[in-house]
Symmetry: C2
Subunit: 191 residues, 2 copies
DNA sequence: CACAAAAATCTAGCGCTGCTAGAATAATGT
DNA sequence: ACATTATTCTAGCAGCGCTAGATTTTTGTG
């Protein structure tokens, strides 16, 4: 009976996603330190060991949230870039990046701050991550070494701004001017 | 008897520093997740409750390591800036910043990544932190709004580079060119 | 020096964590 | 209808941050 196996696998995949969604919701509402195996098991209405049937450990669950978040961000960067004229591509992508970080702080943390097993600049780098990086590069132009370098650099700057803002280490107040200045600097990039 | 009290206070201060140093060493050698009250108490050869006579909780111990690290970094930024010609001030400070982050990753984490009660852009901002920020501003020139904004921005960029490098999220390979590019961008800053 | 008061320190334990072995239950194929 | 297999749960381990209360050490006084 093939359909029985298929149904089981489908239900398993559904529960897999359920765990990821529950972990993400819990993290966004109460912070990652509140995402414990017991609370998460409670939320998905299974016992703790079921979680371990889907993920090796809690870190793997966080990584799954990270990948999901990266895919979402890639999509939002793409939409923002395509909606803007080419001359405003960098600004559109930067704004969308910071908006995502502010709107989904816990997901953002899983993506770029918490320890992770996700491979970033590597042969095994997951497709959504490549896509997100590609969107930043595209804001500068075709995918070449120079634009990739600019993309890495502005990513670093945006990430720094995002986390220092989030933790209150730089003030929210002048954020708009700060972003304007960043974009102006990158617009004047020497060849 | 005044001397007895004085001696007690001196010994207490010594032990206070001993705890900070032990926590920092443990964090640098085994990571912050290994800095537990039990291991730390073991290392300083006291029982756990003694730690709580000096610090409210583990977070306060991390914050103490953070402040110590910030003071050290401020000193190293100052030394680097003063040793370089004014035209190379920004490069000197950037290089020293990234060198500190690479040399003391656990301290750096306590300073700028882990949750903290340390006030950054605030009336209660501790002196060493003001000093460190002041060093970055000085690399750009006198302390005015524009140079402060540039300092905040390049701090964000450096921090982003530091943490993304540390976690393997951007490759070590092109780091030198990346830094050159960053400095070039800031050198071309519009008025 | 002897001894009560005060200060310093430790032992032991609470409720939590991530994780897992083995028991109990449910679904499956004959 | 029943044995087999797959699934899920109960119960527990070792370690976590933190603290109440017992114990030891130090202090100041007669």
């Amino acid at each position: 009976m093939v359909t029985a196996t298929e149904r089981r696998e489908r239900q398993r995949a559904e529960r897999h996603q359920l765990i990821i969604t529950a972990a993400r919701e819990l993290a966004e509402s109460e912070g990652w330190e509140a995402v414990t195996t017991r609370k998460l098991a409670d939320k998905v209405e299974y016992s703790q060991p079921v979680l371990y049937g889907h993920f090796a450990n809690m870190e793997a669950i966080r990584d799954a949230v990270a990948i999901e978040g990266i895919a979402e961000m890639a999509e939002q960067l793409r939409a923002a870039r395509e909606a803007a004229p080419a001359s405003e591509g960098v600004r559109a992508v930067c704004t969308a990046y910071l908006a995502f970080a502010a709107a989904h702080p816990a997901a953002y943390q899983a993506m770029f701050t918490l320890p992770t097993k996700v491979k970033f600049a590597h042969a095994e780098t997951p497709a959504p991550l490549r896509a997100a990086f590609g969107e930043i590069v595209s804001a500068f132009g075709p995918f070449d070494d120079r634009n990739a370098a600019l993309a890495e650099l502005i990513w670093g700057s945006l990430h720094g701004m995002a986390v220092l803002l989030r933790s209150g280490r730089i003030p929210e107040a002048a954020q708009e001017q700060r972003l304007d200045l960043l974009i102006a600097l990158f617009a004047n990039a020497p060849a």
